[in-house]
Symmetry: C4
Subunit: 179 residues, 4 copies
């Protein structure tokens, strides 16, 4: 636990995978001829959204890297004001390397939350590797942090609170709401 | 338990948060270009709806306060005949204070059910503070009542029945259906 | 158990409530201006559907009585070929009495599956009163049969198989598929 | 376990049922007058999709046989590049026999995953019969393999990994992602 807190302290950028992390991994396809050919909707969680907003208000950078691409994700990220949105990235490692170069960050300053083996190349490099309660044992064995909540049901929120806590910023966040 | 019943007795107004209380907190975003930019649908529970109707039939006031705003919520509340619908309220405390002033009620006469830290300013003031089974331990520690049911799956119904029971009105409600 | 089998033997008509029995009770409201004002979709289960078909193939009558009304329910029932579809029935008892009069059946020849107190007037009259695993303890105490499966996830199928079994028809049903 | 691995070794074709296997069995019907009369959407899982892709990359054949028919299924299968898509098949056994004849395979070279009794005629013939955690005990007693994951939530992925493991191909798959 102490080591985990040490890993969370230097984090300046938190990156989330989308399907299976910010959502529960379900992909909804429509039978309506006028609907987009690929998935029609994505389901996010209100508590995860508030966690991401609190991270940004505390001055951290937030982004997503996802292999798929949909208008639903673009709309959710616009709602939350997430600045670094990378959809349709088959090579997540290359995208990650561009991101940290652009933001002038080292691996130790990045947390990444992913749920499946295509996330492994990034998870093996970041200082804080996180996954979700419903990821496989194999995935969990490759990560520093495993959420108690399932994907799409508070896993991302848990990571946000853990980092704010480790950086000593959670109490000031709560103070505002306990006014 | 006895103290909780005492708290429920004077309640004349029951206010619900929407996302994470009347729904399970999931926010559905569409990828359809013609769909509204924000969430396209909200999922409520039939048993919660009946509980809210029974509260109103027993003469209590019911309302909602939510930070978000959607046509889905307006439609659900119209279906149920809920009179006090306040959407798009970033400052829930101010909205709450206007409501009780308008209805000439004191804090002791209000029950509020919320699930996240933005509900704390109101929860800390009302006479009967309620939250859901899936809220964080921190939230639960700030509330008098924690439902056994999860959000969007009967948590609101449980609160409605508890209040009707505490006020000695549940038996007459049942009598009608046991005819 | 023996008494329950005796109750299932004379059943010639099986009536299902919809919300909270054939569905899990969730009501989906759309935010799309062009969508119907009330719920836009209903979610049924494939295994429940097959159970209902097998009941009909065995010669039993099937119907639904629901207080709400939607095109989604009409479409599902048409798909399954269910003949007795009664939507928008605020007074379920009156509808039930018309049904058994029309079919010339006695209370003992009817099974009804419901989940909430508005179903009590019918449940208290039929020979075989059934409810779902997620109904309240109060509801379960008023029924002869409580499914192990939750509403919308196999509760109806369980009732169908129980009745076919009690009437000695399940083995011939299986024989076809074990060919 | 050893026998199960022996059964998985010769498998060259893996066939999935759709409803209750690749989905959780829920059938969504719309109330929108302009929507298709039958189900409007199907919900698949991202981790199942990756498992199916990995099977195909390892050189195995993949297909589906389903009694229903929808554009949603056609779209999902096109996304994944699944070549053998058989919808609207009331007689699954005949379709299965055509498939293995066309691909010149024996029963021992086929794995089939199904969840309900209409899958029994095929399940009783293939060399590797698989079902899901939420199938009935009766169904499970007729299958060699029962997934730990529920339908629509990783059951198909589990089968894919089991077969790749049994055939000694999983380590090379992982090696790519552990680069």
């Amino acid at each position: 636990m102490h080591e985990l807190i040490e890993r969370a302290r230097p984090v300046r950028l938190v990156i989330f995978d989308v399907d299976g992390v910010l959502t529960d991994g379900r992909l909804s396809y429509s039978s309506h001829p006028d609907a987009p050919e690929k998935e029609q909707s994505k389901v996010f969680h209100s508590r995860d959204g508030l966690g991401m907003k609190l991270l940004m208000q505390a001055g951290l950078e937030i982004g997503i890297i996802t292999a798929r691409s949909s208008l639903a994700v673009a709309r959710r990220m616009a709602d939350l004001g997430v600045p670094h949105v990378h959809q349709g990235q088959q090579d997540k490692l290359a995208t990650y390397q561009n991101m940290i170069e652009h933001l002038a960050l080292s691996h130790e300053q990045v947390a990444y939350m992913g749920d499946d083996i295509i996330d492994l190349p990034v998870l093996r490099r970041v200082g804080f590797a996180a996954t979700v309660a419903d990821a496989s044992e194999f995935m969990q064995s490759h990560c520093h942090f495993v959420s108690k909540h399932h994907s799409g049901q508070g896993a991302a929120r848990e990571l946000c609170e853990f980092i704010l806590n480790a950086q000593g910023r959670w109490d000031e966040t709560l103070a505002y709401f306990l006014r």
